[in-house]
């Protein structure tokens, strides 16, 4: 892998997020970078992946010829079962999510605010695709980690004082992992604090690229 720039790659971000997985956890992974977390589950850590379209115990992608149109994940990708798998309807699936039975959700974000708000479903003026299950996930899952590039294409911070886009959920993000590092907070009344720097990243760079009022020291 070429290391022509500093900060974490998407795969490294996913690998860092995977360290938050604990043995016995039930986890929902969002579409995009969060999906990559499944490739980095630590050895000896037994994690059960939930797919909100109605499955627990998501297995890997099928080998060619073994795909089944009736067996997909929430990203509409063909997948497989594991011995522990179970299927259920959408109401039961979201009863798991909204009832607080899922331990961890890792999801992408367009913006996260210092108070834990997240926006990841809508850009006004553009065609809106919909929130899918994201609003349910951030409102219901015990712990939510947002995984996103720290800045947008114009170099502007996506970790903000306040979200400018329509919210997906209020005060629901517990940890932020970006290409620059890890930001954690003790509870949803606390401020985020930089707890880890990505390789080749300085405190000053994080300060320069972070609009949110977070503890960086």
């Amino acid at each position: 892998m070429t290391q022509d720039k500093s900060g974490w790659t998407r795969s490294e971000m996913a690998a860092r997020a995977a360290q938050e997985l604990q043995d016995g956890f039930y986890v929902n992974l969002g579409i995009g970078i969060p999906t990559l977390v499944a490739n980095h589950i630590p050895e000896g850590v037994n994690v059960t992946l939930q797919s909100e379209n109605g499955m627990l115990g998501m297995g890997p992608f099928p080998y060619e010829g073994e795909q089944d149109a009736d067996l997909i994940n929430a990203g509409k990708q063909t997948i497989t079962t594991l011995p522990k798998s179970s299927f259920f309807d959408s109401a039961t699936s979201f009863a798991m999510i909204r009832g607080g039975h899922i331990d961890l959700s890792i999801l992408g974000a367009m913006e996260v605010a210092e108070n834990g708000d997240i926006a990841n479903w809508m850009i006004p003026g553009k065609m809106v695709k919909g929130m899918g299950g994201a609003m349910d996930l951030v409102a219901g899952v015990k712990r939510c980690i947002a995984l996103f590039d720290h800045t947008n294409k114009r170099g502007e911070s996506k970790f903000l004082r306040a979200c400018t886009l329509p919210l997906t959920g209020q005060n629901c993000i517990d940890m932020v992992i970006t290409d620059l590092g890890v930001f954690n907070r003790e509870d949803n009344q606390s401020r985020f604090r930089l707890t880890e720097l990505a390789k080749g990243i300085s405190l000053d760079e994080v300060r320069a690229k972070t609009e949110a009022n977070v503890i960086i020291e």
Partner: protein, 233 residues
């Protein structure tokens, strides 16, 4: 006894379709959609439809067929991102759209079928979705009131079914269909296979016959949206 069995999707819907009706249609993406019943609904030419479905199909397939014919007036969905025709009609103001979060959608449909006109949820509190809706505090947390969804007709796809309307579903093709079976005034199911009454284990029937008024065996294309494969070692 033929019970609830019809010979074709078109026959099953023949006297059920009318302009302005509300239709629930099962499936997540293209997985578990009632392909033949959607085509029969298109053939019925019923228009001004309100369609409740998690997604809107893709261009020319699934509910995309009803978009092409302009039979849909309004969609109630959680995600419609796979459909250019949808985007064109929506941006052109020809199509109404009510977004509802996926879990709230599933629960609203179940509520409609279960005699629950409204329920509170944390989902969407503080977002556009909750604007104008009643809020209420329980144990110090704020929740928003969501209302039930019902439909004149529910069309769903199951794996196997019998003449009594008992159904089982396969894998993730189940998704919204069991709730829609409850939420439709009339529910019509298409199945891969009709089996004799008594051959489904009563312990493992997913949708009891009371929720299903008509059933038809029909072959599905079962298109895959995102074929993702693993390399053989």
């Amino acid at each position: 006894m033929n019970g609830k069995i019809y010979n074709s999707a078109n026959e099953a819907l023949a006297d059920l379709c009318h302009n302005g009706m509300t239709v629930m249609s099962g499936g997540f993406g293209l997985c578990g959609i009632p392909e033949n019943l959607i085509a029969a609904l298109r053939d019925s030419k019923a228009s001004e439809l309100t369609v409740i479905s998690n997604n809107a199909g893709v261009d020319g397939f699934g509910l995309g067929q009803l978009l092409e014919t302009r039979q849909i007036k309004k969609m109630i969905s959680s995600y419609v991102g796979e459909n250019k025709e949808f985007e064109r009609q929506y941006l052109g103001g020809e199509l109404e759209l009510e977004f509802t979060p996926q879990g709230t959608l599933a629960e609203r449909i179940r509520a409609g079928g279960a005699g629950i006109p409204g329920f509170y949820t944390k989902t969407g509190v503080g977002t556009l979705i909750a604007e104008g809706k009643e809020h209420k505090e329980f144990d110090g947390e704020v929740y928003v009131l969501e209302s039930a969804l019902k439909a004149d007709l529910a069309i769903i796809k199951a794996w196997k079914g019998d003449a009594e309307g008992n159904l089982i579903f396969k894998a993730t093709a189940r998704n919204f269909s069991p709730m829609m079976a409850m939420g439709g005034t009339v529910t019509v199911a298409e199945v891969d296979e009709i089996v004799p009454v008594g051959s489904l284990d009563p312990n493992f029937i997913h949708t009891a016959g009371v929720f299903v008024q008509r059933i038809v065996e029909a072959k599905c294309e079962k298109r895959i949206e995102q074929l993702t494969l693993r390399e053989r070692a």
